[in-house]
């Protein structure tokens, strides 16, 4: 039998210490031991019963229950005050075989895999690589769980691929304590698995596009994601190069995403006119004199076995790269400067982003590698239509100069997601992000919430439609914020939540984040009919 360790706690915090937040119980469930002789499927079914028992216990105590992944979110989306469940040990993995496919499915069975919620991106990549497969995209780093990723909508900067949730084709949700609350969701328009396979896992099949899309970015509030079926692809290589290019060119590429006449002039290559797999712009908002921006170009290449002979092992180099991710870049710049935040900000005015210009070639999992910094940090991230990217960056950077905080900017680009509440809602979304280190009230600079409120304000005042990364810092209590960002989609999302979860279960799967964003408020009965 799966077992759950229940610890009494008074507080809990995120990886980057964005809390602490109050907590009563911390639950960690472990699968039945391998020595039990149970098959993977039996262990999966067994732990589903355990999760349902925990949900029942929370409901009986009138308490909230929230699954968490690697606690990498910096907003309080992963927190609830009562019972938090640590999923990381729930990491079963199942390849899908031909006979398990739905008769109308267009997916290639060898690309489909069922992963339990607590599988982390790194272990998924390693598992897939041993089978000649790869994830289609990931974030800049690899420590999140698969359920945590899709619940907020984790993205990289893969212009034509999308975010992590965009290659999920099936979802196993536990929405309550009863047998019929164990459900498996797919799109009706794109079925993947045959009913008997799903029923063997004791789950009830629901095929519906609207329901699937709403549950995909579920903010931890559409029930417990027990497993996801995702579509992988054949292994590929990525060619990575960071160089400084003229500001105007970097911004023009961002606004148009048209690379047809552009030559990145990367030594030893000819990527002229080639649309990159990944395009990312780094920017120090404080140095307005700098004529160039640091830009990361990543191109997709065919996989071949001995690429390390030609390009070297990318992993040891990762430690030398300053452009690993935005936060790491900032830490690398800041460590040369004094500890005082105002002095640091002052020095950033004359600080030039470092030159890197080294080629790395590796698999997706080798390019988007382990994170380099685990200290106290903040991150704010806004999604805008890519045609507004330079304008949004200019406005947010100007505001940051007026109200300085210890951080720097980047822009990443993502294809539109079908998920109802995905922040990548524009045809191509540009995520304008500022990452940096936390500061204290003693520093006499603007508070994070106030700063983030001003960021929201400046985009609203300039009529730039935007979204915000659910897992990042923001003034989530900003009045009417979520309706402003998603309009009618909010109602669609709530309607599906009403359909999947009973009212008592909606309370169990709510938290302070959902309350601040008003997403925990059920739809009025008449609105339910209109949507």
């Amino acid at each position: 039998m799966a077992t759950t360790k229940i610890d009494n706690r008074t507080r809990w915090d995120t990886l980057h210490k964005n809390g602490p937040f109050p907590l009563k119980l911390f639950l960690t469930t472990k699968l039945e031991k391998n020595s039990s002789g149970l098959s993977g499927f039996e262990k999966y079914k067994d732990v589903a019963v355990e999760i349902q028992k925990l949900i029942q216990q929370a409901a009986d105590s009138n308490e909230q229950f929230r699954a968490i992944g690697s606690k990498w979110s910096m907003s309080n989306i992963a927190h609830c005050k009562d019972r938090m469940h640590y999923n990381s040990y729930m990491n079963l993995k199942f390849p899908i075989f031909e006979g398990e496919m739905h008769q109308d499915s267009n997916y290639e069975h060898s690309n489909l895999f069922w992963f339990q919620c607590g599988n982390q991106i790194k272990e998924i990549s390693l598992f897939l690589e041993r089978r000649g497969k790869s994830l289609k995209t990931s974030g800049a780093s690899n420590g999140q769980t698969i359920a945590g990723c899709i619940s907020t909508g984790v993205h990289g900067s893969t212009i034509d691929v999308g975010s992590v949730q965009d290659y999920v084709v099936g979802l196993n949700l536990i929405t309550g304590p009863n047998p019929e609350d164990n459900i498996y969701l797919e799109r009706k328009s794109r079925p993947a698995l045959r009913d008997t396979y799903v029923q063997n896992l004791n789950a009830r099949v629901i095929r519906d596009d609207e329901t699937f899309n709403a549950a995909l970015v579920g903010l931890g509030s559409m029930g417990f994601i027990h497993g996801v079926v995702l579509e992988a692809e054949n292994l590929f290589l990525l060619h990575r190069y960071v160089k400084k290019i003229d500001k105007a060119k970097a911004l023009q590429l961002a606004n148009t995403l048209d690379f047809s006449n552009y030559d990145p002039e990367i030594p030893g290559t000819d990527f002229r006119g080639v649309r990159p797999f990944h395009y990312k712009v780094f920017m120090n908002p404080y140095n307005t004199d700098e004529e160039k921006y640091a830009v990361e170009f990543i191109y997709k290449m065919k996989y071949y076995e001995d690429y390390k002979t030609d390009f070297g092992n990318p992993i040891p180099f990762q430690k030398e790269f300053v452009y690993l991710d935005l936060l790491y870049l900032f830490i690398k710049i800041a460590e040369k400067f004094p500890k005082s935040i105002p002095k640091l900000i002052n020095l950033l005015k004359s600080s030039i982003l470092p030159k890197e210009e080294k080629t790395t070639v590796g698999k997706l999992s080798e390019i988007f590698w382990d994170t380099g910094f685990q200290g106290k940090a903040f991150a704010c991230s806004f999604g805008v239509d890519h045609t507004h990217s330079s304008k949004a960056l200019e406005l947010l950077a100007k505001l940051t100069r007026e109200h300085p905080v210890p951080g720097i900017f980047a822009m990443r680009f993502i294809k539109k997601s079908e998920a109802t509440m995905a922040f990548s809602k524009f045809p191509f979304t540009c995520m304008v992000e500022i990452d940096g280190i936390q500061w204290s009230d003693k520093e006499k600079i603007i508070g994070l919430k106030e700063y983030s409120k001003k960021l929201i304000g400046v985009l609203k005042d300039n009529d730039i439609p935007f979204t915000i990364h659910w897992g990042k810092n923001a003034d989530w209590e900003f009045p009417g914020l979520v309706e402003h960002m998603y309009g009618n989609e909010v109602k669609k999302w709530k309607k599906i939540r009403n359909k999947l979860l009973t009212i008592p279960m909606q309370d169990v799967f709510s938290n302070a984040f959902l309350d601040s964003t008003k997403l925990s408020e059920p739809l009025a009965a008449d609105e339910d009919l209109i949507v």
Binding site: W12, D13, L15, T28, Y86, N119, Q120, E123, I315, G375
Partner: protein, 114 residues
């Protein structure tokens, strides 16, 4: 007296500079996670275990014996960190190489991750 002072200073500098830590890590494995709070930020989110036996005898440092690690459920290690401290060097000096203080930390590979 002056010579003694100089020797002591040199000795102190030598012992201080002999403090070091070495970390070995596999690149193709998933470390075992844990919901940690506080501690070494480098290991934030990692399930770090430490070797209980801190004072070890000569047999162990000459390769005639080994540390037994039995609590990795996956049966595999992801990270091993060995740290040599000032106290360890002093103990080694005082016991003429008979005993040594070592700090070993390790992180297992996550079970079922392979």
């Amino acid at each position: 007296m002056r010579l003694l002072k100089i020797t002591l200073c040199f000795g102190l500098v030598w012992t201080m500079t002999s403090c070091y830590s070495v970390r070995f890590q596999v690149e193709n494995g998933q470390w075992e996670p844990k919901d940690t709070e506080g501690g070494d930020p480098y290991y934030s989110g990692y399930y770090v275990r430490t070797v209980q036996k801190k004072v070890v005898f000569k047999k162990l440092t000459t390769g005639a014996d080994y540390f037994n690690i039995s609590d990795c459920e996956s049966g595999a290690l992801h990270t091993v960190e060995y740290r040599n401290t000032f106290g360890g060097i002093l103990l080694n000096l005082v016991t003429f190489g008979g005993r040594k203080k070592v700090n070993v930390k390790y992180v297992c590979i996550k079970e079922n991750s392979m």
